[in-house]
Structure formats: structure tokens, C-alpha cells
């Protein structure tokens, strides 16, 4: 019972960590260059959750000073993650561009086929 309670209390962290590990697993286990990038994005997205969840305070409002409110949510994680999202988009775009070039040069986007073709050189 206590275990279930702990699970429920930390439900958001469980989701975050599941996404994190799933993303990292895809990056490592898949040989398809596009699927690797999908995994990488998943991995990065899990970190967005890691930051944003604790920033939300239950019952808190937007951080605009007003005599009617006493509890405010923390705005900083959102700002940080906005930056991280931009970085993530740039990384994904560059990664996809590289995959296009690799496909032009090798005619495949499977890692093992690329390495076997490199071995021939």
C-alpha cells in the first residue's frame, strides 16, 4: 500500500523518467538514423517535463503581484525550457539535415549498412 502511495505521489516523476529512459534506449538500440533522432527528441522532451513540473505550485497563479493572491508559480523553469526547446529544435533540424546528406552520399540511412559500405573503402 505504501509503495502505491509513493508511486502516486511521484507519478509525474515516474512519467518523466519513463520517457527519459525510453528515449535513451531508442537512441542506443535502433540502427535507423531517423529513429535515433526520434529517440533523442523524446529524451530531450523528458527533461522539459523534469523542469516544468516542479515550477507549478498547486493553487499558485501567474507571478504578477496582486494583493488578492499570495501563492505564485515559479516562472523561471518555463523560461529555461523555452530556451531548451529552441536548442532541441535546432539540434533536430541539424540532425535531419545530416541524415539527408548521409542518404545522398550512401544511399541508406541504416547504420549497419553505412558501416559495411565504409569498410569497403
Amino acid at each position: 500500500m505504501e509503495v502505491l502511495q509513493r508511486f502516486a505521489d511521484h507519478y509525474n516523476y515516474v512519467v518523466t523518467i519513463f520517457l527519459m529512459v525510453a528515449g535513451l534506449y531508442i537512441v542506443i538500440a535502433r540502427g535507423n538514423l531517423i529513429k535515433k533522432l526520434v529517440g533523442l527528441s523524446l529524451f530531450q522532451t523528458s527533461v522539459y517535463l523534469l523542469y516544468i513540473e516542479p515550477g507549478k505550485i498547486i493553487g499558485g497563479t501567474a507571478p504578477i503581484i496582486d494583493p488578492a493572491f499570495k501563492v505564485y508559480s515559479n516562472p523561471l523553469p518555463h523560461v529555461l525550457i523555452l530556451t531548451a526547446i529552441v536548442v532541441g529544435v535546432a539540434t533536430l533540424a541539424l540532425g535531419l539535415a545530416l541524415v539527408v546528406r548521409i542518404h545522398e552520399a550512401y544511399g541508406t540511412i541504416e547504420e549497419d549498412e553505412i558501416f559495411s559500405r565504409e569498410g569497403e573503402e
Binding site: V27, P54, A84, T91, L94, G95, L98, R101
Partner: protein, 497 residues
């Protein structure tokens, strides 16, 4: 002039950033090169005046946008990062004249201005990582420098450069994301992103809940170790260095890994040093074992490598092992050795990779077999290779000797005398792989490709010779390198006690 002085820390980032934008607008490679040269020669002046400022009046703090820390982003310059700033911008400035012909020969005409744009962006990122005192800001600059690095590598003509860049992108992003996770955990515990502020709050926070802090330490260590190519997280490095354009390889080998090592130093000693000593997690033991493994395994791989550029990349991994060895010793002599080796290795690896750039410029190959007898055709260039190679080995009278001496003293002071033998034995491996190239280049009859080679034009030869002479100079005059390094090490260790 007086109006600019207080803004020097910000200019470290702003000048190359604007340069990168302008360079992207230019169409001609030579014009972009001239712009990059102008920027690269300005940066050491800024860094040197910052270092002077720090030496005379202590650490300076710059509040970006006028927001006081810990709320705003603070650029904080103390002795250690002023030293690294000068190293990065200084090496870049010396190498820049080399770039024009080398890049013109190795990068397509229409992409040259993009190459310089990416180079300046990378420089801005590296200097930004070094100058900033904000942990999240480090991540942003880390990604700026990494993304531009991936492009620099992918601009190599060989199609394997693309795969190398892709692999580095995957590994580099995992590393950076680990870093953000670590910083996120620290932020959850301390509520701050300013490095000094985190360090102050970490002590009380560690007393309350030490587990997230240990997790943060683990994430940060692994993330940054990926970036600095600590064995066995190095797999991206050899191919990236082997297939990137020569100038990009030399620039990255001299600066990018060094800046990552700086971040590691900052985290270990300035952030975690105060709150938790290394006893809670066996960080220094793990690091010691990996450093020794890097020193030997990477050097062995270098011995059996036929592509000289990749051989030097493996050698870099081994040399990074010495630097992290100094960090894991964590006493004053060892840490001094680590920091001074960071400096010396940047200088000598820049020299070696530029020599290879000159060879590629003349004969278009870096296969060991093609270099037969090239020493007689390119005497000055290959003489520089021998000098910088001796420094890699750690021969007395070169810069490499100084750093290994400090490392050995550090190991002795800890009472770990077998480590001294390991340092010596791994240097013997360097004798083999450097000696192999020297033997082929100098003691064989010129044949094939090497037959028609000759020393490169002055604009390429001069940077090579300057760096080679610098490796000897810093072997004798240790005041500038080891003197500052030991002061910086002292300051870092003072944070722990």
C-alpha cells in the same frame, strides 16, 4: 577606451557572435576569412586585459543587462577562466592565418564563408562557456559551440565526415542533456542557477537531502565527460577529428575539449567541493581508473593507426587522460599538472594538427605510407612535427615535460608511486607512435606523393612554427603557464577546505 573596459567580459561573447552573423552575409571566402582574422586577433587582447585585471585586482563580476546576481546572469572572471579565455583566444589567433589557404583547398568555394561563420559561432560558444558564471547559461553556450562544431565537421569533403558529424551530434546532445538534467536537479534542491550561489546553498541543502545532489553530480560528470571525450565516452572523437577539415580539427583539438575540462573543474571544485567532498561518491577513484585506461588504451590504438590524423586524435584521448588524472589527484601539484597540461596540450596538439593540415595542403593525404620521406621535402614543417611530438612524449626541455613533472609530483605526494611509473610507461607508448611517423617521414627515401611536396607558403608555415617554438618556450619559461596554473589550482582547492 575607458568606456569599454567594464564591458570586457560581455565583449568576449558579443564580438565573435556579431562576427559570425556578418560572416554569414558575406559571399566570398577570403572576405569572410579577413573578418574572422580581425575577430580572432581582437579576442586575445580582450582576454589579456581581463587576465591583467584579475591579476591586479582579483575576480571581476559583470552583470548582464544590469540585473544583479543571483537573479540575473553573471559573467564572473577569476584567474582560472581568465587563463582559459586567453588560451582559447590566443591559440585561435595564432592559427587563423593558416586557415585561408587550408580552408580554400579543403572546403567548397560556396561554403567557405559559412565555414568561417560556424568557426566564429563556435568561438563565441567556447568563450561564453568559459566566461559565464551561470550554470544554465553554460548549457546554452555549450549547445551553440556544439551545433556549430557538428557543421564544421560535416563540411569535410569525405562522406565519412557526415557520419562522424551525425555520431557526434547524437553523443554530444546526450551529453548536453545529461548536463541539463544535472543542473535541473541542482536547481530543484537549491533554487538557484548562479554557480557561486549554488555552491553556497548546496551545503545546507546537502544536509537535508543528499540523494538528488549525488544524482546531479553523477549526471553532470557523465554529461561533461562525454563532451571532453573521457575514455570510454570518447567514441565520437577519432572519426570527427579524422574527417573534419584540417583547420577545424586543429581548432577543435586545441580548444573544445579543453573548455569542457574547464567546466568539469568548475563543477567539481567550485560547486560540489564545498558541499560534498569526494568521499560520498567515488568520483575521483573512477576518474583515476578511467584516466589511466585512457593513457594506455588510447595510446595503444594510436600505435596501430595508419591514418596519421586519426592517430593524433587517439593521442589526444590519451593526453586528456593525463589532464583528468591531475583532476582526480585533487592535490595542489596534481591539479596544477592537470591545468598546465590543459594549456600545453592545446599548444602542442594545435601545432601537430596544423602540420597535418600543411601536409594535406601539399599532398592531399595523411596516410602514413604516403608520408615516406616527406621530411626531406618539407623540412621546416616536419621539424615542427618533431618538436611538438617531443612535447607530447614529455621530453625534458619541452612543455610536455613540465606538466608530467607536476603530475608525477602530485602522485608522489599522495604516496601513489606506482602511478608515477604508469605516467612514465604511457609516455613510452607516445615515443612509439610519434617515433613511427618521424621514422617514416625522415629516414625513408621520398617516393610517390611525397616526392613533389615542399614547405607550405609562409601564411601556413608561420603559425606552425610559432606554435612549435611555443612548446619549447613553455618548457623553459614556466612563469606564465605553470605559475598561473598553480595559483588557479590553489584557488580551486581553497574552495574545498
Amino acid at each position: 577606451m575607458r568606456a569599454i573596459m567594464p564591458h570586457l567580459p560581455a565583449l568576449q561573447v558579443v564580438v565573435p557572435l556579431i562576427g559570425a552573423l556578418l560572416s554569414a552575409l558575406l559571399r566570398r571566402g577570403t572576405t569572410a576569412w579577413a573578418l574572422a582574422l580581425l575577430v580572432s586577433w581582437t579576442m586575445p587582447l580582450i582576454a589579456a586585459s581581463l587576465l591583467l585585471q584579475v591579476l591586479t585586482s582579483g575576480p571581476t563580476s559583470y552583470h548582464l543587462g544590469g540585473w544583479a546576481p543571483p537573479w540575473g546572469i553573471e559573467y564572473r572572471v577569476d584567474l582560472l577562466n581568465a587563463f582559459i579565455l586567453l588560451l582559447v583566444s590566443g591559440v585561435a589567433a595564432v592559427m587563423m592565418p593558416f586557415a585561408r589557404r587550408s580552408v580554400a583547398a579543403e572546403v567548397d568555394q560556396d561554403k567557405q564563408s559559412w565555414f568561417y561563420s560556424m568557426y566564429l559561432l563556435c568561438l563565441a560558444g567556447l568563450l561564453g562557456i568559459t566566461v559565464t558564471g551561470d550554470a544554465f547559461n553554460i548549457f546554452v553556450f555549450l549547445e551553440i559551440s556544439s551545433l556549430s562544431t557538428y557543421v564544421l565537421i560535416a563540411l569535410g569533403r569525405d562522406r565519412r565526415a557526415l557520419v562522424a558529424a551525425y555520431q557526434y551530434l547524437i553523443m554530444g546532445t546526450i551529453g548536453a542533456t545529461f548536463y541539463v538534467i544535472g543542473i535541473g536537479l541542482l536547481y530543484l534542491v537549491t533554487g538557484s542557477l548562479n554557480i557561486l550561489d549554488i555552491a553556497e546553498r548546496l551545503g545546507p541543502a546537502a544536509a537535508q537531502s543528499s540523494r538528488p545532489i549525488l544524482a546531479a553530480l553523477a549526471f553532470l560528470t557523465v554529461g561533461i565527460s562525454l563532451k571532453l571525450a573521457l575514455f570510454p565516452l570518447h567514441v565520437w572523437l577519432p572519426n570527427a577529428y579524422a574527417y573534419a577539415p584540417s583547420f577545424a580539427t586543429a581548432f577543435l583539438a586545441a580548444t573544445a575539449t579543453k573548455v569542457a575540462i574547464y567546466v568539469l573543474l568548475r563543477l567539481f571544485f567550485s560547486v560540489f567541493g564545498i558541499a560534498i567532498s569526494f568521499e560520498h561518491l567515488p568520483v575521483s577513484e573512477v576518474m583515476l581508473a578511467l584516466s589511466v585506461a585512457a593513457m594506455f588504451i588510447a595510446s595503444l590504438l594510436a600505435i596501430f593507426e595508419q591514418n596519421v590524423k586519426r592517430m593524433l586524435a587517439y593521442s589526444s584521448l590519451g593526453q586528456i587522460g593525463y589532464i583528468t588524472l591531475g583532476i582526480s589527484l585533487a592535490n595542489e601539484a596534481g591539479l596544477t599538472g592537470g591545468i598546465v597540461h590543459l594549456f600545453n596540450h592545446a599548444v602542442m596538439k594545435a601545432a601537430l594538427f596544423l602540420v597535418l593540415g600543411a601536409i594535406v595542403f601539399r599532398i592531399g593525404s595523411v596516410k602514413l605510407a604516403d608520408l615516406a620521406g616527406i621530411g626531406r621535402r618539407m623540412p621546416l614543417t616536419m621539424a615542427a612535427f618533431v618538436i611538438a611530438g617531443l612535447a607530447i612524449i614529455g621530453a625534458p626541455g619541452t612543455a610536455g615535460f613540465i606538466s608530467k613533472w607536476y603530475l608525477a609530483v602530485g602522485a608522489f605526494q599522495k604516496g601513489w608511486w606506482p602511478l608515477v611509473f604508469l605516467i612514465l610507461a604511457s609516455s613510452m607508448l607516445a615515443v612509439v607512435y610519434i617515433g613511427r611517423v618521424v621514422e617514416v617521414a625522415w629516414f625513408r627515401e621520398p617516393s610517390g606523393l611525397a616526392e613533389k611536396a615542399k614547405d607550405p607558403p609562409l601564411s601556413m608555415l608561420l603559425p606552425v612554427l610559432v606554435l612549435a617554438i611555443a612548446t619549447i618556450y613553455f618548457g623553459f619559461d614556466t612563469q606564465a603557464s605553470a605559475g598561473i596554473a598553480s595559483q588557479a589550482a590553489h584557488a580551486l582547492l581553497a574552495g574545498i577546505k
